[in-house]
Symmetry: C2
Subunit: 194 residues, 2 copies
């Protein structure tokens, strides 16, 4: 098709190669801590590799602990404010299972692990994703403390998604996850969406 | 790079050709109603062309009325629960201006017009997008009425984003926008994310 110069009709989201390679290791992540450690490692390596902000996320099959997808914050590199780690991990998980819902018929239950409590956008996305469980590391206050915004998330927001069948756990490996945020601020790297 | 079979490290979002072609017409949309009419037309045509759900959105330069990007709901076709019309329009707008914020230095102010009040995810995305104004057509209740979910959106959610400099207008061409939703339900098409 012919479009005006400058008009793009396709937009590609690419995982950093180092992150995509984590999927090569398919040993099960059986404990909560092992799953969260992967999300926090994604956050740390995303900063070290200069591929984005200090946030990481991963989707696992709840029972088997099989890793389904990974995500890191890709906002700045992609000029795309919506590529938070959670959205990236969930998009690739849905691609992997071939459905717009991780609760589609015949699928096992899925967990989303995220290195930091989700912002308002990502918490909404959790509801549409079909995950059965949301597990976070660092708290909203830990992100605010270094100058990131989190948007309109209230206790009632969590109540809403819990009522719709999503189990929410917070504060798993919080100290380790918060440390990545602190190191990011100390490095002087940009706080976008401040 | 070599990945396990079935692992994809890139994911492409493609606008339907009929929608991308709307950008060929660069006559300014000067009134609120003209801008909303485009969003509602996108919603209607998305159903007629069988490219997705009954939701459309567009980004305009606030003052000039120049059309910057369009979006339609692409959830089912892309197996991607996050491709709501608003997210699609905002992603392509950021791509068009080359920044993760539509408020980046040197840019004019931007409006997001959406045929239906945004869900929780998209309302969060509005905050990250950098638009100065959010204008919606059909109301949350109009979407709920036909069985769609909207997620945890509260009066306080709007207060939060208004306090951060986003002007919100609702109910522009509401009847026309609601009619598209009603026609969609009458057609028996799927209510995903119910």
């Amino acid at each position: 098709m012919t479009l005006r110069p400058g008009v793009t009709s396709a937009l590609t989201v690419t995982l950093p190669e180092w992150a995509a390679r984590l999927l090569d290791d398919q040993r099960p992540h059986t404990s909560l801590e092992a799953r969260m450690k992967l999300a926090v490692d994604l956050a740390r390596r995303n900063v070290e590799q200069a591929t984005g902000g200090p946030f990481g996320a991963a989707v696992f099959e709840s029972e088997s602990g099989r890793l389904v997808s990974v995500g890191t914050n890709l906002v700045v590199a992609n000029s795309n404010a919506f590529l938070h780690a959670e959205i990236v991990a969930l998009m690739f998980a849905q691609r992997a299972v071939g459905s717009y819902s991780l609760r589609a018929e015949g699928l096992p239950e899925h967990d989303l692990f995220t290195s930091c409590a989700p912002c308002a956008m990502c918490l909404g996305a959790v509801l549409w994703s079909g995950v059965s469980r949301l597990v976070s590391g660092a708290a909203r206050e830990d992100a605010l403390e270094i100058g990131f915004e989190e948007g309109p998330v209230f206790d009632a927001s969590y109540e809403y998604i819990v009522e719709r069948g999503v189990t929410c756990l917070a504060g798993v490996l919080r100290d380790e996850a918060r440390a990545v945020l602190q190191e990011y601020r100390a490095s002087g790297a940009p706080i976008y969406n401040a």
